[in-house]
């Protein structure tokens, strides 16, 4: 699905973070957002997902023409939006298998039950792609997980829920090169003409494995520059110094 963000403004505790952000990710494409710390990258992902802490003061976000901002967090998810968290929460005492199952169950009409055999078959297939141990299903969600395990778990959930639009928020942070490759393999296996991706990252490295169609640079709550994947390489070389010379225009 295509995501269209139009003149989005959002603040937290009266402090304005997103200042009229425009972004369009057509379906089938992968867009990357890069930018210095504090530019509002993570805020953007949370505002699109509907986090309570942020107040949207203007603009719109639509997923294939459907207004997301009027929906509850869980409704947005069921409408096809998935956010792979930078810091996934722990849910003590709830096993991964039960958690993912509950999320799938929430997508079924009342009275319909998930077929347990088919569920585990599908779960194991995806775990194999991500090279995850079978014991993982019985462990509590993210509790005692290493950074790499948490990120793999995010991708596993993404694969199981089969969303139409995925946001990956700094999925590469805290990953060693092997884990990065595995996670990227999972993401790439989901590339499809019907699915859009927004990949938020600090480092060009991730984009070697998940190749973007478009790279955006974000600064001070806006997209200030967009280009092809070569833009990421330029940023890697020269940093964000150029931002100081070319102040953003609203």
């Amino acid at each position: 699905m295509s995501l269209i963000v139009n003149n989005l403004q959002a603040s937290i505790e009266e402090t304005s973070i997103l200042k009229g952000l425009n972004l369009e990710v057509p379906k089938g494409e992968i867009h990357a957002i890069m930018g210095p710390n504090g530019s509002g990258k993570s805020t953007l992902s949370k505002v699109i997902a509907g986090h309570d802490d942020y107040e949207v003061t203007g603009g719109s976000v639509t997923l294939d023409g459907v207004d997301l901002l009027d929906m509850e967090v869980d409704e947005r998810s069921r409408a096809g939006l998935f956010l792979a968290f930078q810091y996934p929460a722990e849910v003590p005492g709830v096993s991964n298998a039960n958690f993912i199952r509950a999320a799938l169950q929430a997508r079924l009409p009342k009275g319909e039950e998930i077929d347990a055999v088919a569920y585990y078959k599908s779960l194991y297939e995806k775990m194999d792609i991500l090279e995850m141990d079978r014991q993982f299903t019985a462990r509590s969600v993210n509790e005692g997980f290493s950074g790499g395990e948490k990120k793999r778990n995010e991708i596993l959930q993404m694969m199981m829920l089969d969303p139409t639009f995925c946001i990956l928020d700094e999925t590469d942070s805290g990953l060693d090169i092997d884990a990065l490759k595995i996670v990227s393999k999972g993401v790439n296996s989901m590339r499809s003409p019907d699915r859009g991706f927004l990949v938020i990252t600090h480092y060009q490295r991730l984009l070697d494995y998940i190749e973007p169609d478009v790279v955006h640079v974000m600064a001070d709550g806006q997209i200030v520059k967009s280009g092809g994947k070569e833009l990421a390489l330029e940023l890697e070389e020269s940093g964000y110094e150029f931002l100081k010379e070319e102040p953003a225009h609203a």
Binding site: D74, R76, S77, L83, G93, V94, R107
Partner: protein, 481 residues
């Protein structure tokens, strides 16, 4: 002594909080009263004589009741440490004995139709067929049904109500009756001792090990009523028993009182496991005294789950009287809006090499309040005693409250004690995470709560842990679709 209170960021707004509720509907129904015996409203010596007369009791029991009434009247309400809500109990507006005058039936076919329907709706006969060795079903003041497997009777197992136990088996029960919990232990043990009726008197002979549990179900049907069952379980040397109790009542506008006394005696090498799933309606004051004595190498385990009631005050205890005796309390409490769960454990080490373990988990929802009170006592002259205490509290939102009062008295230096306490909240980040996966706020809350108690729920027999999870499911009321 320490108190924890968490009053920081609000997790739920009021609207959402109002929308989540716990399923207590299962026990919320009642039938018209049909009583032959009714002690009337209020408590006096006449009330006690009326009860004793209906039961045709011996003089020593009548005297026991009279003395208890005096103790009850002389003791103040314990509001110096407990909640002032106790002052809202109006002892003059309660009926202390209601029964249809029938002896308990040994077949469900002989039970009055409305009583049978009650217990069928609560699933009692079904559970009996599925996995129980015997059942006693109490309806208001007396048991309506009581039966156990014939082979247990042949082995000498006694499973009767308190009246029959004291009348037919005085030589077995009298030596322990009121000895584990003396009348004057507290105001409500005295009240029970004055007006007790119903409950289970159980004797398991030497070496007899029950493979399936015995169960009692306590049902209140009538309004303005007090239920005062009395239970005494004696497991002779090397015997083993698991006993389970469940309880429900319809929700009335007026207060209902439930005040039980439960005494357990585990002789040398015996094991008693006592499991409670308390789901009283939210107008019930549930003030219960429970204690066990564990002799040499014996074990007493209390597994206690409190979901219902307006106010519960209950601190199951174990007195470890013999070398290597073991005591355990595993407790789950859930306090919703308007509820107070004041629970805990008492571990009295009275012999060398005794071991006790307390694991308590409480959940407070909305304005619900949960309190843990623990007492561990290890005197100076003993050696090699161990206690482990863990209490964890989960708060669902900013108005919830939990307090912990662990009192651990350890004298001497040849003991090992360990105490851990934690307070956690279902955090906004956890809810956001679960909701981002498409799970509604109510379901997310339910998952988080069930996750919190998951390890303790496993301690309950399978049939009960399923029930438990269902009860604790928090549902979004009136949500669309």
């Amino acid at each position: 002594m320490s108190a924890y209170e968490l009053n920081e960021s609000a997790v739920l707004d009021d609207e959402t909080k109002d929308a989540i509720d716990i399923d207590r509907s299962v026990g919320d129904f009642s039938f018209p009263e049909n009583h032959k015996y009714d002690a009337g409203y209020g408590l006096s010596k006449d009330t006690v004589d009326y009860i004793s007369g209906v039961k045709k009791e011996k003089d020593w029991i009548r005297e026991f009741r009279h003395k208890a009434l005096e103790v009850f009247e002389s003791k103040p309400m314990p509001t110096n440490w407990a909640t002032d809500d106790l002052n809202n109990i109006d002892f003059d507006k309660i009926r202390y004995y209601l029964s249809d005058g029938q002896a308990p039936k040994r077949s469900w076919d002989d039970v009055p139709p409305e009583v049978l329907e009650t217990f069928e709706r609560l699933g009692v006969p079904q559970q009996e067929r599925a996995f129980l060795a015997g059942v006693e079903a109490q309806y208001d003041s007396e048991a309506a049904y009581s039966n156990m497997m014939p082979e247990l009777e042949k082995k000498g197992v006694i499973f009767v109500n308190s009246t029959e136990g004291l009348r037919e088996h005085e030589e077995i029960f009298r030596p322990w009756f009121g000895k584990v919990i003396p009348t004057g232990d507290n105001k409500f043990s005295a009240l029970n001792s004055a007006v007790f009726s119903g409950g289970s008197f159980i004797y398991i002979p030497k070496g007899v090990k029950l493979e399936q549990p015995l169960q009692a179900y306590f049902r209140i049907n009538s309004e303005n009523f007090g239920q005062f069952e009395r239970t005494l379980i004696i497991a002779d040397e090397g015997a083993e028993i698991t006993y389970m109790e469940g309880c429900t009542a319809p929700k009335f506008e007026t207060a209902t009182l439930h005040s039980a006394v439960v005494e357990l005696v585990a002789m040398k090498g015996a094991k008693i496991q006592y499991i409670t799933v308390q789901n009283w309606s939210s107008n019930v004051f549930n003030l219960v005294t429970k204690r066990g004595v564990a002799h040499e190498d014996a074990e007493v385990r209390w597994i206690d789950c409190n979901i219902g009631s307006r106010l519960t005050m209950k601190y199951p205890g174990v007195v470890m009287k013999g070398d290597k005796a073991r005591g355990e309390v595993i407790s789950i409490a859930l306090a919703s809006d308007g509820q107070e769960q004041d629970t805990g454990a008492k571990m009295i080490h009275a012999a060398n090499n005794t071991t006790s373990n307390v694991v308590s988990k409480s959940i407070s929802v909305g304005k619900g309040r949960s309190t843990y009170r623990g007492q561990v006592h290890i005197p100076k002259h003993l050696k090699g005693c161990k206690n482990n205490t863990e209490c964890d509290a989960l708060l669902i939102n900013s108005q919830s409250r939990t307090d912990t009062y662990p009192a651990i008295t350890v004298r001497g230096n040849q003991h090992a004690t360990q105490h851990e306490a934690s307070v956690s909240q279902v955090s906004e980040e956890m809810l956001f995470y679960m909701q981002q996966r498409g799970i509604s706020e109510g379901e997310a809350m339910s998952l988080a709560v069930n996750g919190f108690i998951n390890d303790l729920a496993r301690e309950f027999p399978m049939e009960y842990s399923v029930e438990l999870k269902r009860l604790i499911e928090l549902e979004m009321e009136g949500s669309v679709g």
